[in-house]
C-alpha cells in the first residue's frame, strides 16, 4: 500500500499518453498532455514526503520539527505555473492549425489546404 503514490503517478502517465495517442481532436490532445504533466507533480511530491512531517513553513511551528522536503515543492510550484503558460502556447498553435487546415483532427492535418 505504500507503493500507491508511485503507482498513481505511473497510472496517470500511462493514461495521459494513451489519450494523446488515440485522440481525434487537437484540443482533447492538449488536455491529455496536462494529465501527463500532473503525473510528474504527484511523483515529485511523493518522493519528498517525510512520514509524519509537517509543511515546511516555520511561522508557527518551532524550529526543529520534522518537515517534508522543501526542494521538491519549490520545483513543483514553479513547474505548475510555467506549464500553464506552455499549454496556452499550445492552444494558440491549435488555433493556427485550425485556420490553416480547417480541421482539428490530428490525422487530417497536412492533407487539406486552407
Amino acid at each position: 500500500m505504500s507503493f500507491l503514490p508511485y503507482a498513481v503517478a505511473a497510472w496517470l502517465f500511462g493514461v495521459g499518453l494513451y489519450g494523446v495517442v488515440t485522440s481525434r481532436n487537437l484540443i482533447h490532445l492538449v488536455v491529455c498532455l496536462t494529465v501527463v504533466q500532473s503525473s510528474t507533480y504527484v511523483l515529485l511530491l511523493a518522493i519528498g514526503y517525510v512520514g509524519a512531517g509537517k509543511a515546511p513553513i516555520f511561522a508557527d511551528i518551532p524550529q526543529g520539527t520534522t518537515v517534508v522536503d522543501p526542494v521538491v515543492q519549490a520545483l513543483t510550484l514553479t513547474d505548475v505555473v510555467v506549464e500553464a503558460a506552455v499549454v496556452a502556447l499550445l492552444l494558440a498553435l491549435v488555433m493556427q492549425a485550425h485556420k490553416r487546415f480547417g480541421t482539428l483532427d490530428p490525422d487530417e492535418l497536412g492533407v487539406m489546404r486552407a
Partner: protein
C-alpha cells in the same frame, strides 16, 4: 501508416514503458522514508540563515534561485510565442473583412450583463486585488509568493471582464502596459541576480541584510524577487487572456459574436 497500425504498435510499447516505469519506481525509497540529505539540511539551516520562515520560498528564490531564473525565461518565451502567433492570426483576419474598428463595434454589440453580476463583480474586484498583493508580499513568511499572487491578480482582471464589458477590461489593462509589466518583471529578476554578482561576487547571492524573521522585510532579497515574479506572472497570463479574448470577440462584417 494507417491509424490502426499505429495503435497496434502503440499498445505493446505503452505496456512495456509502464512496466519499466513501475520497475524503476520500486527502486525508490518507501513512501515517507525520504533519504536525501538536501531537504533535511535546508529545513534545519534555512530559517537561521535567511530569516525567512517560508522555507519553500527561500529555496525557490535563494538557494535554487538560478533554476527559477530558467523557469522565468520559459514563461517569458511562452508568452512571447503566444503573442506572436495570435497577432499574426488577427492581422490576417482583419485584412479580409470590411469590419469596423474594434472598440466601437464591441461596445455596440455586447449586451449588458445582469445587475446582480455587475454588483457582485464590483464588490469582488477590490478584495481580490488586495488578496493578490498580500499573497505576493508575504511570500517569505506564509505559503504564497510571486507565482500564486500573480495569478490571483489576473483573476481580478477576469472579474472585471465577467462583470462588465470587454471594453472595460481593455481600458483597465491596455496591452502595452501588460507587455511592459511582464518584460519588466523578467528583467528585474535577472537584474537583481546581477546585483548579487556586483555586490557580493556571486550571481543571485542574497546581498540584502536578512532582517528578523516574521517581519515583512525578512529574507533579504526574497521579497524583491517575489514582487518581480508576481509582476511577470500577472503580466504573462493577463496578456494570454487578453489575446485569447481578442480572438474570440473579433467581429466580422456579416456574422455577430456569440459570447
Amino acid at each position: 501508416m494507417s491509424r490502426r497500425a499505429r495503435l497496434w504498435m502503440f499498445a505493446p510499447a505503452l505496456a512495456g514503458m509502464v512496466a519499466l516505469l513501475i520497475w524503476g519506481l520500486t527502486g525508490l525509497p518507501d513512501f515517507g522514508h525520504y533519504r536525501g540529505p538536501y531537504g533535511k539540511v535546508l529545513a534545519k539551516v534555512a530559517v537561521p540563515e535567511r530569516k525567512a520562515t517560508n522555507v519553500v520560498a527561500s529555496t525557490t528564490f535563494d538557494y535554487r534561485g538560478f533554476d527559477t531564473l530558467g523557469e522565468e525565461m520559459i514563461l517569458f518565451s511562452a508568452a512571447l510565442g503566444l503573442v506572436v502567433l495570435l497577432r499574426e492570426l488577427r492581422g490576417e483576419e482583419e485584412e479580409d473583412e470590411e469590419a469596423d474598428d474594434d472598440e466601437e463595434g464591441i461596445e455596440g454589440r455586447e449586451e449588458r450583463t445582469s445587475d446582480a453580476l455587475r454588483i457582485f463583480g464590483l464588490g469582488l474586484v477590490g478584495p481580490t486585488v488586495v488578496l493578490g498583493i498580500y499573497i505576493v508580499s508575504h511570500g517569505a513568511l506564509t505559503p504564497g509568493g510571486g507565482f500564486q499572487g500573480g495569478l490571483v491578480l489576473v483573476t481580478a482582471l477576469l472579474v472585471v471582464y465577467l462583470a462588465g464589458r470587454y471594453a472595460a477590461m481593455r481600458r483597465v489593462s491596455p496591452i502595452p502596459m501588460l507587455e511592459v509589466g511582464e518584460a519588466g518583471g523578467a528583467t528585474a529578476f535577472a537584474l537583481i541576480g546581477l546585483g548579487g554578482l556586483v555586490i557580493a561576487g556571486i550571481y543571485m547571492k542574497n546581498f540584502i541584510d536578512p532582517g528578523t524573521p516574521k517581519t515583512l522585510l525578512s529574507g533579504g532579497v526574497i521579497p524583491l524577487l517575489n514582487i518581480s515574479v508576481g509582476l511577470e506572472v500577472a503580466g504573462a497570463f493577463a496578456l494570454a487572456f487578453t489575446e485569447f479574448l481578442d480572438q474570440t470577440l473579433l467581429l466580422r462584417g456579416s456574422g455577430g459574436d456569440e459570447s
